[in-house]
Amino acid sequence: MSDFSWKSVSHKIFGGKKAESIRFTGSGGHGLVTASVILAKAGVYEGHNVLQSQVYGAEARGGSTKSETVIREGDIYFPKLVNPDVLLALTSEGLEKYRVDVKKDGLIIFDSVLIPEEKSTGDGPFVIGIPMWSELIKELKTGTAINVISLGLIVGFTEIVGRESLERAVHENFRPEFKTNNQKALDIGYKIAQEVKNG
């Protein structure tokens, strides 16, 4: 967990405005491109302008991925994020590569199980490590919903979309048999975010 409490930064995080841009980075197979599409869909459900994009290599699994979602009221011109409000990282490689891009008043969320050593610089964005993987194993006996818990955390922290829209987008995207586990993963994400926010 970060040295700073959320309460001490909450007034200035995202410049006191609503976060509108999220970058996800992980490894092929984590499902973070899917996560960015789901988040974008939730944005459309709420009537916002939305742009989603991704970068990946030729591999089907493994290899570094980057995906991005922008949700805002105004037009979206340049289709890539230069300085995202939020970075969600599931690999050390992605975290180190993209952390410098995050806005100074932004937020970095990383998985503290998959990335045990985080080299904090102290200054800059609010950085928080959350043991997403072990929380999922503990509650669901599987880590496959790591992209869904990621979405629960992002929405829990930023309220970039409402929970109802997010849940609709998540459940529409996956087969019905995954609904229970996905809802649990979202709820864990919301709960952890709330606990951090409450200090």
Binding site: H48, N49, L51, S53, D75, F78, K80, V82
Partner: protein
């Protein structure tokens, strides 16, 4: 029956546009970053009595389109640089035999297999001159997901109107990104009908109408249809005399280029007041929009080429007459900029801004160049 919001990927918008235009045949070979078009068509066509075939390669793919189109289908394929290279021979055949079809080329980094998952705009000249011989080509280039839908309808329409292949020239960025699209999918759009000859007795396969377009009968409908890519007279039979070659090649080019005003499309902003004009297309236009939005410079504007080919010398010259500086951002080493240089020579300052590393030209990069220009 109403405007609704969708989250569409660029490739899916292309496929939706094709279906809207009445496309009922797709043959192709999967290649990143175009595969999503094939994927969508494979899903959609069978339930609409259409045909989807995954061919053994791109050479066979275009050959299959030619056959399907001659038999009356509205046929398209989707590919990327390496596959587009393989299609060039078939493309030439389709131009010569005057066969309507659309090739979607989703540009990625080249030459050869290059950068499969990353964007460039380096097939601009290949679209124009990839196949040999003097020939007409129509190429259209979208800059958003929504436009990909409407422009694909136009591409299919133009191929039918002129009986010639049309290149839908998009790129990895526009094809792979998803945007909110607000659209009425039931909206009635103009769909170009294929004109069919009525009287088999006086039928000649390549007899042009007053607009220089021959209206071929569908194969297997009782007409004596003869098709060859050798020079041929109106009957369709081979004739390589100087007189026929001269007349035929001229008509082939004129049937498109004489009617350029009918379909040529650009988008513009602030050209009346601008000393500096960005000339852009496709993904790099999105950088231009960001720069103009951020800078609010009242003396900057843009001219976006929606129709990439043919190039409209007269119109572009007129549109850019007030500009002192023309900045041309492209994801290649400078292809379209050469057309601008050809128009203006040394009479205007022309700045080429280029990137070919698989990344987009950033707003910062472009703004700095414009400020120093």
């Amino acid at each position: 029956m109403a405007i609704e919001s969708y989250l569409w990927q660029g490739s899916h918008a292309v496929a939706q546009g094709a279906l809207k235009a009445g496309v009922n045949y797709f043959a192709g070979y999967p290649i990143t970053p175009s595969t999503e078009v094939a994927e969508f068509m494979a899903y959609a066509l069978p339930s609409r009595d259409g045909i989807f075939i995954q061919m053994e390669d791109e050479i066979a793919s275009i050959a299959s389109l030619i056959g399907a189109s001659l038999a009356g289908a509205k046929a398209i394929t989707a590919t990327s640089g390496p596959g587009f290279s393989l299609m060039q021979e078939g493309l030439g055949y389709a131009i010569m035999a005057e066969v309507p079809l659309v090739i979607v080329d989703v540009m990625r980094g080249g030459p050869s297999t290059g950068l499969p998952t990353k964007p460039t705009q380096a097939d601009v000249m290949q679209a124009k001159w990839g196949t040999h011989g003097d020939h007409p080509i129509i190429a259209l280039c979208p800059a958003s997901v929504k436009e990909s839908y409407y422009l694909m309808v136009k591409a299919v329409n133009l191929s039918e109107r002129f009986r010639t292949p049309v290149i839908f020239l998009t790129d990895e960025t526009i094809a792979h990104m998803r945007e909110r699209v607000q659209i009425d999918v039931d909206e009635k759009l103009y769909i170009e009908p294929r004109i069919e000859p009525k009287d088999p007795r006086n039928y000649k396969t390549f007899q042009p109408d007053e607009r220089l377009v021959p209206h071929q009968a569908k194969f297997g409908t009782g007409f004596r249809t003869v098709v060859t890519a050798l020079y041929h007279d109106e009957s369709g039979f081979q004739n390589t005399s100087a007189e026929v070659a001269e007349r035929f090649n001229k008509r082939l080019v004129d049937k498109v280029e004489k009617y350029i005003d009918e379909f040529y499309e650009t988008e513009e902003y602030n050209l009346e007041n601008s000393e500096l004009v960005f000339v852009s297309y496709g993904a790099s236009h999105r950088t231009v929009l960001q720069v103009l939005n951020d800078s609010k410079n009242p003396k900057w504007g843009f001219l976006r080429l929606v129709t990439i080919w043919p190039f409209h010398d007269k119109l572009v010259k007129e549109k850019l007459k007030k500009a002192k500086v023309i900045v041309v951002p492209e994801l290649n080493m400078g292809q379209m900029v050469k057309e601008i240089q050809r128009l203006f020579g040394d009479t205007k300052k022309i700045v080429s801004v280029n990137r070919w590393d698989g990344e987009l030209i950033t707003p910062d990069q472009l703004r700095k160049v414009a400020e120093q220009a």
